[in-house]
């Protein structure tokens, strides 16, 4: 009993609030922030609707097929339109040398065809 009182006094002098309360409060704030993250994502998604519609309209009007993400090589610029040999354009056994090749592999459709050819 005596020990508990002493502990309380000492704790009270250094931390006016119990450490567990502070910890639970921090946990609550973390959960709240994660919740806010989901809410923000939802709001942003709704707000981005017109911008996405504009991009989709550009794609429709111009008849585009790919995203302009990897622009260093023609077969990565239009990934969905690439052919089996475009990565080996220099000579038949040339190794893929564009850094994007490490990120964006060939379309699955091509890999399936390659399996048949091998």
């Amino acid at each position: 009993m005596i020990r508990r009182d002493c502990g309380k006094k000492r704790g009270a002098a250094r931390f006016p609030v119990r450490k567990s309360t502070l910890c639970l409060l921090l946990l609550g704030i973390s959960v709240l922030l994660i919740g806010l993250m989901f809410a923000h994502a939802r709001v942003q998604r709704q707000a981005a609707g017109p911008a996405l519609a504009l991009i989709a309209a550009t794609v429709r009007d111009l008849g585009l097929t790919d995203l302009a993400l990897f622009m260093e090589a023609r077969y990565t610029r239009h990934l969905s339109q690439a052919d089996l040999h475009s990565a080996f354009q220099d000579h038949p056994t040339a190794l893929e040398h564009f850094p994007t090749g490490a990120i964006a592999g060939p379309p699955g459709r091509l890999r399936r065809q390659n399996g048949q050819l091998d």
């Binding site: 309360t21 994502a41 429709r60 302009a68 622009m71 990934l79 969905s80 990120i103 964006a104």
Partner: protein, 378 residues
Amino acid sequence: MASWIEKQRSIMDFTVSSLLRRKGKNIALLLVYALVVFLLGSALFFTQAMKREAALILQDAPEMVVQRLQGGRYDPIPVAYAEKISNIRGVISAGPRLWGYYFDSHVGANYTIMVPPANPPSRGRIIIGNGIARSRSVARRHIMSLRGYDGLIRNYTVAGTIPSASELVSADLVLIAEADYRELFQFPAALATDIAVAVRNQRELPTIAHKVVAMLPDTRPIIREEMVRTYNAVFDWRGGMVMVLLIAALAAFVIFAWDKASGLSAEEKREIGILKAIGWETSDIITIKTYEGLFVSFFSFSGGLLAAYLHVFFGSAFLFAPALKGWSTLYPDFRITPFVDPYQVAILFCLTVVPYTVATIVPSWRAAIVDPDAVMRS
């Protein structure tokens, strides 16, 4: 119930005090752990958002594109093929598309030169993507010179730029009149780059694709679903960059959890021994260690996750940009729309918080069931 809550609160008080006693070590642990979650979370958010965005954007792409293959490579397709394809039952229209690549040696960038299917610019005029306008510092009414395949340099007046909002698909585009395109690339009038096909019923697409190949064996049809699937594969967790990140982060995490699971420090063992000696039960010690593991892993998880969210959706994934850019000098300036899948966040939580917490409990349990005297002397 109230006494149980009070007991748990007291154990939590003790846990926090214990964590604060080893402040330096625990802060370092928290930072490394948060960094692992940040890397995994960034890769997860980025790929998920790009995959969803690509699916939304490409939903209006041509339903089918027909290429002509020669020697395994695609080759210009005769415009007459469009007529043959449009005669297939179920096809609404088949229009030749004209597009190609132009390497600009001034900025070392590749442009996509294209003739828009509707409202092309008049002769001598071009409409450019925002990426080109930025890299060449050109604006409306400026003159841009392009070197033709006949060696002649031609000047084109910039009639406008494509809205920056659509930079993700148009950063490197140059829209040009058909006559200018054919003149620039010395492209024969009877040929096109490929043929865009529109069909009446989406479900008939595979059947129509088979009919196209049967009728024109030197062609390769690519349906819209395959275009979307391409980007699904690129941004799949098993694909390139994501896999590299995933392996690196998971390896770091395994080392980290292994270090934790392989044993306690002498100080921690002594603490457990003292607690046992003064009458704490094994279950109380396991509870302390569970709370310790939960606090460290949850704070690291939430910190890492929120930092990943800020990095990808507020900072446009700037850490990934060099990897995505590769050697290209043009890059779209775009803000990623936050598509966050709660299911994936839950998986990330289970992959990081649960193993770490378990890895914390096991060695503590092993130390707690040993005689306190032996633990303190070890």
